[in-house]
Amino acid sequence: MTQHSHAHDHDHDLAHHHDIHSELPSDPALRVKALESLLTEKGLVDPAAIDAWIEVYESKIGPRNGAKVVAKAWVDPAYKERLLRDGSNAIHELDFHGRQGQHIVAVENTPDVHNLVVCTLCSCYPLSVLGLPPAWYKSAPYRSRAVIDPRGVLKEFGLELPDHVKIRVWDSTAEIRYLVLPERPAGTERLSEEQLAALVTRDSMIGVGKVAAK
Amino acid sequence: MPKTCLPLGRDLHHHPHHHAHRRGHAHADVPPDPALRTKALESLLTEMGLVDPAAIDAWVEAYESKIGPRRGAQVVARAWVDAAFKARLLQDATRAIEPFGFLGREAQHIVVLENTPAIHNLVVCTLCSCYPWGLLGLPPRWYKAAPYRARSVIDPRGVLGEFGLVLGDEVEVRVWDSTAEIRYLVLPERPAGTEELSEEELAGLVTRDAMIGIAKVEKGRTA
């Protein structure tokens, strides 16, 4: 055996996935319901806390947070400078920091560089500024192809970039979360910060889209 | 949506309107039990005249009673008793084996690998399940399974340990990954104390596993 097996031997309660899944219903709705009932009975979960978490992601944390950051960076050059230098603190100023968003690096799209964010190993995502990741972000096609064929992936989102544009793919392998600062579209000089925020899509902050003026 | 579409696994149950289309796969629409699926396929092919059921029976018969590891065992036993044959076998196995009449499908380009006290050879196919069918018959199920295919190249000693074969550190383990049409046959070491045995008796000791390289041939055990 390899030298690596020793650490495993010491890690006693990290066994495996017990051979239980074949004995459980295939419908996740049934399994999750049974799990919730069990945990509630055993006092391992408070159903009201589950409701509260759902409420957090349904009404408090979502891509509107990120859109506010982007719009502010577009209208306030000093803020933009702080955001690109230290994303975590600049976002902290707007007070929606927290879980999965503590270490944020903002990467700026320009006419020459297009940034794209992925997590090939799991599905890391800047939850505190973008909310829950879309289903495709967590799926095998995106996770496998974003690093080897970013241009092909972008085409599937309807975004075709000319050859002279450098694509930089950020694979979120650690606890750093990447937020793309998209380009401000032309013709938006007269819009307010709030109106600008309304233009900013979640997809543009992941890097699979651009922001359109309308 | 065309009928030939296999939904991407992760969202199989949630939003069928977003199935990705994959050419040539229609698995979502057929019964999960392979016995039913295979039966339906055979009926269809027979009705369409695309297959002759007697030919299917003949193939099954071939692998049940004619093509199996006894073929490889004969080659190994010959090499053990005939030094000139062994030299030819290690030099050009395809030509050396030709007179046996064992060449054919999945056994047209053979290379024989000699195990010695210093070198132990192990055969795997990481990319699919290539195997010297003409010499060893049907590959065992574990040979085609993910654990063996994945681990033989990165942890051969661990895999051999699972087969009960622990090799000393001084032994070099050589893993042969059958990535092309070359088929590898391991020539195991002849066990000590078998000097009196006939070629036929020797062949009786040679196991399939020894010719894949996951076991040694033992004197007291017949294959």
């Binding site: 069990l38 391992l44 806390a49 589950i50 978490w53 879980r99 190993l121 496998s144 392998t173 | -």
Partner: protein
């Protein structure tokens, strides 16, 4: 571990087929919301952490990992954590009910703690006494390591040469933390690799891939 979770560069998974952002629902089924809430608020075995969570997810049998959807992975991890930690039995998971006579705990996270938990958790920076081995702009090679345990160096960068782009200071080291062997913080760097270094001459000459790599994953190049 060299598992199916390490997907960067794999072929055969098909097109991304994204849903339109405007019409994609937050949940694709009500159970997904419940599973998120359960995972965020349930009592895990002592010492449990995010790296352990990720590693248990990686340990899912490959056929289940590939066939099941994201929140169903969370289900599998929670079930494994409960069983491994002795917090529930197989029979209890199957029946959805506590065994007769089992004690009820009263220390589960409450709803009024949720927002505080949201805002307080997730700081992974740690002080590291040793100075960083690598400087921004330096060429480094990702080590060819193949641990059977948790690691965050993807296979597609192993043995490849890149340039240090960012230095993030000390961060909790997942490879030990996942196995409850301590946070053992190390310097963390973002390393930029050219697409051609990773994927060969057919890749774009301009494109780049960045990965966050801990110091012990790297050698000078």
């Amino acid at each position: 571990m060299n598992g199916v979770h390490d997907m960067g560069g794999m072929h055969g998974h098909g097109p991304v087929a994204p849903e339109d952002e405007k019409h994609e629902p937050l949940w694709h089924a009500p159970w997904e919301a419940r599973m998120l809430g359960i995972t965020r608020s349930m009592t895990f075995p002592k010492g449990f952490n995010i790296d352990r969570f990720r590693h248990i997810r990686e340990l899912m049998p490959p056929h289940l990992y590939l066939a099941r959807s994201y929140y169903d992975h969370w289900y599998a991890v929670c079930v494994a954590a409960l069983l491994n930690g002795g917090l529930a039995t197989k029979d209890e998971i199957k029946s959805g009910h506590a065994a007769a006579g089992s004690a009820k705990r009263n220390d589960a996270a409450r709803a009024d703690q949720v927002w505080a938990s949201q805002k307080s958790q997730g700081v992974f920076t740690r002080k590291v006494e040793t100075p960083p081995l690598f400087a921004i702009g330096q060429r480094v090679r990702a080590r060819n390591i193949n641990p059977t345990e948790h690691t965050r160096v993807p296979r597609y960068v192993r043995g490849k040469v890149g340039v240090v782009q960012l230095h993030h200071g000390g961060h909790v080291f997942p490879d030990t933390n996942a196995h409850l062997q301590g946070e053992a913080p190390q310097h963390l760097y973002t390393v930029v690799f050219s697409a051609r270094e990773l994927w060969g001459e057919d890749a774009s000459a301009r494109d780049e891939i960045c990965a966050d790599l801990w110091e012990s994953y790297l050698d000078p190049a």
